[in-house]
Symmetry: C2
Subunit: 168 residues, 2 copies
DNA sequence: TATATTAGTGATCAATCAATAACTAATTTT
DNA sequence: AAAATTAGTTATTGATTGATCACTAATATA
């Protein structure tokens, strides 16, 4: 026994968790399913993540980290900033759809520490985007950021709920 | 035994469910907790709702029904329509906060038939508000409705996540 | 007053699942 | 090549919980 040690186990489990959580939600996802997708036994998951909750938090954190990075990479003049941001977001939703779905899933998980990860993620996005809007000299930056966030979230939802007419 | 029959049991259970679901989310809510809040035994719940899921759907449906009704009652000229709608929504979130919370909860429950209730609810809100915007002669009605919905949902979330700065 | 119906409960079960414990095999180190 | 460490597994369990079943008490009806 003892299959040859493959690449980074923790990373593989995180990625498998991300996929399954994004598809089935937090509560319908079992650690057995994650383990199966990662090609390991169920208990081995707990060698890398103390609890299922901790694993979910790590995955959700990655999803927020990625979107923050994407937005930070955008540099353009005030006339095209919003459009460029939207484009960055659209790229993300095709390159990493699971992470977008996970953010939606995370929005309404009532577990306190998961809520906290969502809170921090949204706060960070807001702050970063606001800074960019301001330094580009966009008027009413606060209001525009809220609208930008709001439309982004509605877009996620319309994707998650399979309800495209929400965003016409 | 057999306590005196109180008012409408089904209604009481629905209301109790609404409260507990709104507070704890779909999965963390047990039928025992709902029964306790309704002042009956746990199995009796199933005399009125075949499954926990069916009870949740009924509660969620009520929440969407109420918001649709609220918006339909708004009548004013195009210059004040959006503001009046926002006001109607704000009234609702103080008079029926549980129903607002339940809508957020419902957004990311992956169970197919619950998702369907959310879909229908959002579609109905969108259609109704769009009709009102159009007949008031608001320009870019489609776009304005999306923005209106988006900001409404963001507002729900900022309330649910206890993250007021999201809506500054 | 017998009978049927309605309202409700206690006991229990079958399934699910996160997490632990105890173990084995492979690899690395000395 | 022994010892120690790392990688991984199998077996199991303890708790939870939706749902069913069999029953009792109250009320209405004839």
């Amino acid at each position: 026994m003892g299959m040859p040690k493959k690449g980074n186990r923790k990373e593989e489990i995180l990625e498998a968790g991300l996929e399954v959580f994004a598809e089935l939600g937090y509560y319908n996802t079992t650690t057995a399913l994650i383990a199966e997708k990662a090609g390991i036994s169920q208990p081995y998951v707990f060698k890398f993540f103390k609890t299922k909750e901790e694993l979910f938090e790590a995955a959700l954190d990655r999803a927020y980290e990625r979107i923050v990075q994407s937005f930070q990479k955008v540099h353009t003049d005030s006339a095209h900033l919003v459009d460029a941001m939207i484009e960055a977001y659209e790229e993300l939703s095709t390159s990493h759809p699971n992470e977008i779905a996970l953010q939606v899933i995370g929005l309404s998980v009532p577990e306190a520490s998961i809520k906290e990860v969502t809170r921090r993620g949204l706060q960070r996005i807001r702050k970063d985007v606001l800074d960019q809007f301001k330094s580009a000299g966009i008027a009413n930056a606060n209001y525009e950021v809220s609208t930008f966030l709001a439309r982004g979230i509605l877009c996620n939802l319309s994707f998650f709920l399979d309800l495209p007419e929400l965003m016409k």
